[in-house]
Structure formats: C-alpha cells, structure tokens
C-alpha cells in the first residue's frame, strides 16, 4: 500500500510541476467544448448575422422573380445583390463573380419565367375543361419548361447549397400552386357565374408537431448543449492518451523505468498508480466540462445542460470512459518507442475513434459498413451512454452494456501492454 501511495504521490508531483501538461489537460478541453458548442449552437444565428451575399439576376420582372426575391430577402439569410456600381448585373458578370469566390451563389431567373409557369397552368386548366372557353385563360396546350440557373462557388458546402436549392424549390412550387388556384378559380366562376371567385390562401392543412419520444416522463429537451457537451467531453477525455503515453515514454527515456523494473514489484505498482492518477485527471476533466454545461454555457446565452436524475450512472460511466482512455494511453505508451510515434498515433487514433463514434457525423447517417465499424469505437460506447442518461433518462442498468464494453476495452488494452512487455523481456 505504501508503494502504491508513494507512486501516486510521485505521479501527482510530476503532473503538477508540468505546467504546459496541466494546461493541455484542463484548459484545452474547456476551450474545445466552449468553441465547439458555441459554433454548433450558433450556426443558424451566425448565418443570419453574417447575411451571406448572393447575386440575383432577375430577368423575369414578374411574379416568379418577385416571389423568389421577396422570399430570399424575408429569409434574412441572404443579402441580395442585384446591382454593381449602380448597374444591373448581367448573367456573365454574375457567373464571373461567383467563379472568383466573391459571392457564394448567383441566381439567374430567365426572361418570361412567370409566363412559362402561367402557360403551364393554363394548359392544365384547358385540359381539364376542354369544352369551355374561359376568359383570362389562354388557349395553350403545350407545356414549356424554364431553367433557373444557379451558379455555385465550388468552395460552398454541400449542405448550404442544398438548403438554398430547397428554399428556391419551395418558392417556385408555391407560385405554381398560387397561379393554378387563381386560374382554376377563374374557370369555375366562368362556368358557374353565381359562384364567387375563390380567394387563394395558404391552407396549411397539415401541420407538424415535434414530440421527442420518451418512455419516461422526462422533461429533458434535446438541444445543442445536450448533444455537444457529452460528445466533446468524451473527445477531450480521450486526449488524456497523449500526456499519459508521453509520461510512460519519458520515464523510459530518462531511465527511471529501467530502475523501476529492477525493483521489487514496483513496475506494476507504478503503472497502476499512473492509471489511478490519470483516471482522476480524466474524471476532473469530466466534472469541469459538466460545470461548463451547467454554468458557463447558460451564462453565454445557451441552454443549460440537464444531467437527469441518475447521477450514479453518470459517475460510473465517466469513470469507465476514463479507464478506457487511460488503458489506451498505457498501451500506446508501452508500444511506441518515441514521443513522435505516440503523439501522432495517439492523436490520429482518437480522431478515428471520434469519427467512428459519431462525434462529428451522427452514426445513423453513416453508410452501413461504417455503422458496423462504429460499434468498435470506445467513444461511441461512451457517447451512447451519455445520450442514454442525458436524453433518455437512462439509469445504471440502461448504460450497463456501454460501461461493460468500456471496461472490457480497458482490460484488452492492459493485456496488450502486459503482453508487449513480456515479449520485449524475452526479445
């Protein structure tokens, strides 16, 4: 016991005297969680505030052009640019400006675009009321199509492009329906003069009501904080791998490991003390990040983290995640021969585990084979566990599979380190 306590004290002294190491262990995760949560929560707000500049060349000068123009302005996402130096922008100028990256998107609405839609609506009504000649509805049967050209900066993100396209489709579709109803109403009033023309208005018959499914009476509402805090907490906790592996390599490089291996029972004790100390550090990191979610983020105008009633489950899951991280650190520190190897392999492996674990991209949108692979990421286990506690009100039994998987990972990592040491001993 004395050996273990002394080793823990030694690790503690080594740790607190490494100021840069301490900063990495505690400040960096805090910065990470603050920045990532703020960025992800404020994406919508930022887009609104930034008001992305977009070129609009409206050659239509009719209902469609106006509807698109109005819709884009009302969305408040975009700052519509139609003139440069007091002159109307041509299609060529728009294309050139977008190609040079000055604007993210340029929309060209062709001449007579509204007329084309109107023609199609007339054709449809004529087809429906073949025997009637309706005033105001031209005798057209041929359907025509128009091309609204959208120039996109190649550096524009796919999701941004998709959201713009979706908005444009909505505007044109609304206009088509509006014109159809207007002309249809006119046709009806021609056929039945007593019938008053119907004023078109949006019905909104189908409404969407969002309800988060829960098997309990949980009042926890999912929000960016509920999602981001556990995700980035797991990510930051696993970064403990780097200082821990570095600590093991440093001990070996400085020769202390040599001495320790020649002392009675000491090397195992020293390794165990490292695991305990770094487990303590990772748990402190976890507590700090919870504090950020509970107190700092609300002070910055974000929702407060709700940790649910099952605090014991939370503590055990955090400790199991910490053990998995320290286990990985011990394995990497034992196998890597240089700091460069351990820091590169350590960082890249955490990023791979994080990517597979759904930290950046939700697992349910991943391809099938990636979803299978993600089942082998300890960050996925930890994150699933935290989501179960934070969002589904899960208790200790709910997160037991995740805890067991994390503990198994820790055991496997230790076995790898012990096995490697044995092989190295008989090399």
């Amino acid at each position: 016991m004395l050996r273990l306590l002394s080793s823990i004290y030694k690790e503690f002294l080594v740790l607190i005297r490494d100021r840069a190491g301490l900063a990495i262990l505690f400040l960096m995760p805090l910065v990470l969680i603050l920045i990532m949560t703020l960025i992800q929560d404020a994406t919508f707000k930022t887009v609104k505030e930034a008001s992305i500049s977009m070129i609009l060349v409206n050659n239509d000068h009719d209902s469609l052009g106006e509807a698109i123009r109005k819709g884009l302005i009302e969305s408040e996402f975009f700052q519509i640019v139609e003139e440069i130096d007091g002159e109307k922008i041509s299609e060529e100028q728009a294309k050139d400006a977008v190609a040079k990256g000055k604007y993210k998107i340029g929309i060209i609405i062709p001449e007579r675009a509204t007329e084309a839609i109107r023609g199609n609506v007339d054709a449809l009504i004529n087809k429906s009321f073949k025997t009637y000649s309706i005033a105001g509805v031209k005798k057209r049967t041929k359907k025509s199509s128009i091309d609204i050209i959208i120039y996109i900066d190649p550096a524009t993100s796919h999701s941004f492009k998709n959201s713009v396209m979706s908005s444009l489709k909505e505007f044109t579709s609304q206009l088509e329906i509006k014109l159809f109803f207007k002309n249809f109403s006119m046709a009806i009033s021609e056929m039945f003069p007593d019938q008053k023309a119907i004023e078109f208005e949006s019905f909104e018959t189908i409404k969407y009501k969002e309800v988060y499914a829960s098997t309990t009476n949980s009042e926890i509402l999912p929000n960016s904080v509920q999602h981001n805090v556990p995700a980035w907490t797991m990510f930051a906790m696993f970064f403990i791998v780097l200082p821990l592996a570095g600590n093991i390599i440093k001990e070996r490089d400085e020769g202390s490991a040599f001495r320790l291996k020649t002392m009675p029972g000491s090397y195992v004790t020293v390794m165990f003390s490292k695991i305990l100390v770094f487990l303590g550090v990772s748990f402190l990191q976890f507590l700090l990040m919870l504090m950020v979610g509970l107190y700092v983020l609300p002070a910055m105008g974000l929702p407060q983290l709700e940790i649910g009633p099952h605090k014991l489950a939370l503590v055990i899951l955090a400790l199991a995640s910490g053990l998995a991280a320290t286990g990985l650190g011990v394995a990497i520190g034992t196998i890597a021969t240089t700091h460069e190897q351990s820091s590169t392999f350590g960082a890249v492996s955490i990023i791979i585990f994080a990517a597979l674990g759904g930290i950046w991209v939700p697992i349910y949108v991943m391809p099938h084979y990636m979803r299978i692979l993600s089942q082998f990421s300890p960050l996925n286990w930890g994150l699933s566990g935290f989501y179960n506690i934070f969002l589904r009100n899960g208790d200790i039994l709910t997160v037991l599979p995740e805890i067991l998987k994390l503990l198994l990972f820790f055991a496997v990592m230790l076995m790898i380190a012990i096995g490697y040491n044995k092989i190295h001993r008989s090399k």
């Binding site: 004395l2 050996r3 306590l5 002394s6 080793s7 004290y9 030694k10 002294l13 080594v14 005297r17 490494d18 400085e254 020769g255 202390s256 040599f258 001495r259 320790l260 291996k261 020649t262 002392m263 009675p264 029972g265 000491s266 004790t269 001993r425 008989s426 090399k427």
Partner: protein, 252 residues
C-alpha cells in the same frame, strides 16, 4: 580471499536478440564471490550491458542459468530484486522532483519508511556531499551531482549486491573520487559490487577481479594484478585490453 558459496553464478549464459544472428552473449560462465568488486570490461557492444541487464532481471536469457544468492529469477524474482541495487548508466531519476523526493519515492518502493528512511536519506546525502542541495530539483543539478544521487538511489536500501553500469562516466575528478571511495567503503561492509567501465586505470585500481568480454565471450578473467603479471608485454590493464580486443574502433 577464501572461496565461499558464489553470490552470483552464471552458467552457460547466452543471449541472442530477436532478429539477430550474432549472440550478444555467447555461453558465458563465471562465479562471483561475496564481497568482490567484479569488473566487466569490454569495448562497445561487447555484451557488458546485456549481461548486467540479465543479472538485474530486465531480460530473460536465451539459454543458460543465473543464480543470485542461490536464487533464480523465474522462481524468486521479488526476493532477488529486494537484495540487489542497480545504478544504471543513465540518470534514472525524475528531473522535476527534488533529490529528497526522488529518494523518498525509491526508498518507499524498497519498503523503507518513516524515520528509518528519513535517517538513511540524510546519511547518504551527507556521505555524498549533497545534504545542502537535497531540496533542489534534479534538473538543476550538475552532471557530477546527478551521478552521485543516481548512485544513492541504488544503495539506499543497503543491498547485498550492487550493479554499477559505468557509474563514473562523464563526471569530474572530485565526483569520481567521492563515488569510488564510498563504493569501497560500502564494499568493505560486505556488499558485492558488479561494475562496468571503459576506464581501464580506474578498473585496475578499483576491482578485485575483472573479466574482459568481447563479442559476447569472456576472453580473459582474473585479478588485475595477476593479469598484468601474466605476460611480459603487459604493462597495465589497458595494454591487456588493447592486446586482446584490438585497436580497431568499435561501434555499438
């Protein structure tokens, strides 16, 4: 010296590192008596450090047996480790800890505690002239001071056998003098010293017996004086060394 039961028995010790065709140690056998200062001498890559590493329990041999005070590592590893002290070639200490903190930690690992440990640390620090700098971090020490504290960490628990891998390398004359004198004192109390060095003159004066190793084999062995007197052309241990191992440069 009357022959006693050897404190270290090495029988047909062979070590071939994985991936290597050439043995680092090739069928070495020797006995070391209690109270001896035994020197393992040889050029770079001769097999000295490998021999010491196996004797300290760091590596398993490929073949052969070693007995430390009648015990083998595969049966009594913990017992053997409690009676040996190791002074590695590298400064095997924590640079961010003070001398006292380092010694307290290593003392605890050897099972020393409380007043006994504190007294022993003070005694050793005083013996090696480091009592005034005991609370300074190791990283602020000079090379000679680091060597001395590195030595203290290996002798703190009063081991029966001390393995010294080039304990005086890179230190000034004063530090070397202090180290060797105190090692002689420790030896006089009955502790066996196994010592490697490249300093032939130092080995000749310090060791009671030496073995010159080259290419993993013992090429000569005996008391320094007897070896020097064994042939007329030998003037000192260095001349024997150069005669037996050649004058060509050696790399590790």
């Amino acid at each position: 010296m009357q022959e006693k039961q050897p404190i270290i028995e090495i029988k047909h010790l062979t070590k071939v590192y994985r991936g290597s065709d050439v043995p680092a140690i090739d069928n070495i056998s020797l006995d070391i008596q209690p109270g001896e200062i035994y020197g393992l001498l040889g050029p770079n890559g001769a097999g000295k450090t490998t021999t010491i590493s196996i004797l300290c329990g760091l590596f398993d041999p490929t073949a052969g047996n070693i007995f430390i005070d009648g015990m083998e590592y595969n049966h009594s590893s913990e017992k053997i480790k409690s009676i040996i002290g190791v002074v590695p070639q590298d400064i095997a200490l924590y640079p961010s800890l003070t001398a006292k903190e380092n010694l307290t930690f290593f003392g605890h690992l050897y099972g020393l505690k409380g007043k006994n440990l504190r007294n022993r640390i003070d005694e050793c620090l005083e013996l090696f002239g480091l009592e005034k700098t005991a609370n300074r971090k190791i990283k602020t020490y000079s090379g000679g001071m680091k060597r001395r504290i590195n030595l203290i960490a290996g002798i703190l628990h009063k081991p029966k056998i001390i393995f010294l891998d080039e304990p005086t390398v890179g230190v000034d004359v004063q530090s070397r003098n202090v180290i060797l004198n105190h090692l002689r004192d420790i030896n006089k109390e009955g502790t066996t010293l196994i010592y490697t060095s490249h300093y032939m003159e130092e080995a000749e004066n310090f060791c009671t017996r030496v073995a010159i190793i080259d290419q993993g084999k013992i090429i000569t062995e005996g008391k320094p004086k007897d070896l020097v007197n064994s042939k007329e052309e030998y003037t000192d241990l260095e001349s024997i060394f150069l005669h037996l191992t050649g004058k060509a440069l050696r790399d590790e």
